[in-house]
Subunit: 317 residues, 2 copies
């Protein structure tokens, strides 16, 4: 069987075809253009899927689609997606199955990343896995006892808005002190901008950002080159994230936490602070066991989507 | 079938026999005397079980045992129990099965309460349930997708040590600012003692505690009678607990939270503050759905133990 994984972001739709072991055999990226509406969106995905159906004639295929936002996996419906022109109640799985004849699953993109972390990154070695998606915001997904866990209303794993500082920094959600308000890309950039004001003129960070806006990537580069301001911002990021993850470890007692998404690329600069935050807790059992790693795979969301489609096609028979 | 549920505390062992629907048909309490050692402990439990075997001759029985502390449910071993003379690695299920011929399960008492909450209190209506045990300390147990969830090392659900105030009040675990450091019985009493010092002589709370030590029960009585200090302490308790539970709702998205244990009896005085803490969050989905209730049953731990024994006997066939 071959899984087709789709990661539908606000700007691009990334599609890949993968084997049952998660090996990528085809890769395609097309512009999302969600302003053209849901019908154009599903048709565009179907066009690629149909091409691959021809290409892999004789193979059984299944499709998995991950989108940012609130989804109803049982109905295959996007309840609300801020990134896709604020669509509400858009059926996705149904139209795709109708057009292609293929089994199709829809999930929140963090859930797809969680499945990718469990199935591909960790090869199903650990039954209880938390994936943390570190992009503009901080999201998460959970695999519990080897099954993707949705919770009561499909928003389980949404760790970005766990509070780490009462009345702390302002978060995009409107609250204060959430994990995301410290470890989301915008929050890291916000702290970096503030730090830049007091940075010495000859600092690496100041030079790197002289003609361009500061970004997580530049901040990581500055840290790579030993800039103390950049290093401190990453340490803080790890410290706040670690504080929140420590609470989650007490509740979930997971086997593994997999960090993924763009910001996780700088893991070497913030991982030690996560480990330190864990070591500060007096209760030690969950922290001795849990494995915290940064994903090696950059497209864990679409690989997870492909593999979850295969899993779902098998178990729904 | 009849389930025998055992709640082994530091002072008393409470045993009950219950039908499959959780109706209690026998009840017995014996002193624990853990200083006599594990052998005397299991023999004492077996003596009652054997009596009930005679009494319910012809019925199939199964035994469930809940203890405070760290257990290995798979092996039926108490890894460590502070309340039972600090026992380490004491086999319980094996000796009981050997002596009685009955299927026997062992769990942390909060896990037994969680099963009781899911199976008895909520009649299996909700697949994802968090039980919060409010006694001297604050513990918890989780049922996920209708199955008791242990986590990687058996300590899942230990919500008492989730941080709600960085560098806050001292907790029994040695950390600062844990939920337990605000909502554990000792923490409530600690705040009440401090408040008593500044309380007017004619206050209800001062009168109630004139010749006796303050307790959660007296504090509840004072609140029942409208004492403003007592009411404020309960409000604070709910506010801190609610703050922690809100974070847990974001991660777990549970269907229901069931508060149990002695302190939960005062729920009418602290529940509004939990609801308020939930309403303060900007993300609303998990909070709209979750049902937060205080258990109606005072012995949810032993009923849960009896019912989990029956569940386990059925599924292990």
């Amino acid at each position: 069987m071959i899984g087709i994984g789709v990661d539908a972001g606000g700007t691009f739709i990334k599609l890949l075809a993968a084997t049952e072991s998660g090996e990528t055999i085809e890769l395609k990226q097309i512009p999302t253009l969600s302003q053209d509406g849901p019908k154009a969106f599903t048709e565009k995905i179907c066009a690629v899927v149909k091409d691959w159906q021809k290409q892999f004639k004789g193979e059984k295929l299944a499709v998995g689609i991950g989108v940012a936002g609130d989804t109803d996996p049982q109905k295959g419906v996007i309840r609300y997606s801020p990134n896709l022109s604020k669509w509400r109640n858009v059926a996705v799985s149904g139209p795709i199955t109708e057009a292609t004849g293929l089994h199709c699953v829809l999930e929140n993109d963090a859930n797809m990343a969680a499945w990718g972390a469990y199935d591909y990154e960790l090869k199903r070695k650990y039954p209880n896995v938390l994936a943390v998606t570190m992009g503009t915001g901080v999201g998460g997904g959970l695999v519990i006892n080897g099954v993707l866990y949705h919770g009561a209303t499909g928003c389980a794993g949404e760790i970005g808005h766990v509070n780490v500082v009462p009345q702390g920094e302002l978060c995009h959600c409107g609250d204060r002190g959430c994990i995301e308000a410290y470890a989301g890309h915008y929050a890291i950039v916000r702290r970096a901008e503030q730090a830049l004001m007091r940075a010495p003129e000859k600092s690496i960070l100041k030079k790197l950002t002289a003609n361009t806006q500061i970004s997580g990537e530049l901040l990581a580069q500055a840290a790579d080159e030993g800039d103390p301001i950049a290093l401190e911002i990453w340490r803080e990021t790890g410290s706040y994230l670690g504080r929140g993850l420590a609470d989650i470890c007490l509740v979930l007692n997971p086997d593994a936490i997999v960090l993924t998404g763009g910001v996780s690329m700088a893991h070497k600069h913030f991982m030690p602070a996560i480990v330190e935050a864990f070591s500060l807790r007096q209760i030690t059992t969950p922290f001795k066991h849990v494995k915290v790693v940064a994903a090696h795979t950059s497209n864990l969301g679409s690989i997870g989507a492909a593999l979850l489609a295969l899993e779902s096609a098998k178990t729904s028979k």
